[in-house]
């Protein structure tokens, strides 16, 4: 059962990555964005259905407000503001922030996470 789940998650991740590749290629080829946005929608549906996270570098390419595929310089503005990378969607104006400095001092909650991970890794 566990192996089957891992296989499903693996394929889901591959499909998400593939869809983002296609969205990128489509956005470069034409000005028409509807197809790129459709691929983002499909990738999100796959991620939600199988509880697979969209990798963080790809997550930055989606607008959190209107879920369009973002192309920096075309329909997104990327700026460094303080400790954050701020990406502004030029379609809906939503701002997304992501810290880029060294990770914060380990919080007690994070330590808890680590211990839980160890717990799962133990046979």
């Amino acid at each position: 059962m566990k192996r089957r789940r891992r296989r499903i998650e693996d394929i889901a991740l591959q499909r998400i990555e593939r869809l983002f590749e296609l969205a990128e290629a489509e956005a470069r080829k034409t000005k028409e964005r509807s197809r790129s946005d459709r691929y983002v929608q499909l990738a999100r549906e796959i991620g939600m259905r199988y509880r697979v996270r969209i990798p963080s570098h790809l997550k930055m390419r989606i607008c959190k407000g209107c879920y369009t595929f973002l192309i920096p310089g075309e329909n997104a503005r990327v700026r460094l503001k303080g400790d954050y990378i701020t990406t502004t969607c030029l379609g809906c104006g939503k701002q997304m922030r992501r810290p880029y400095k060294a990770p914060r001092a380990p919080s007690p909650r994070r330590n808890e996470d680590v211990s839980m991970k160890d717990f799962y890794n133990c046979p």
Partner: protein, 93 residues
Amino acid sequence: MKITPSNILQHELIGLRTEVEDSSNSDVKGLCGIVVDETRNMLVIEDEQRKEKKIPKAGNIFVFELNGGVRVRIKGDTLVSRPEDRIKKGKKR
């Protein structure tokens, strides 16, 4: 990241080259192109004239070309389900 004949039923069909090998509709038989979208019951294929053709999955036989030149023949009836639901389906030929 590989699409193989064994996992194509679960994998992404968008972006693959395909040909309608057999169909109950003689007009779409032999249609060649790249899959650009997928719904529960249809594949949207962009043909050489960059026209989008909406082909029902059911009742048609598709030949998909994987990278590496491998060609896989698939009955459209096995593909009928939403694209994100297809991963869950078991292996069937």
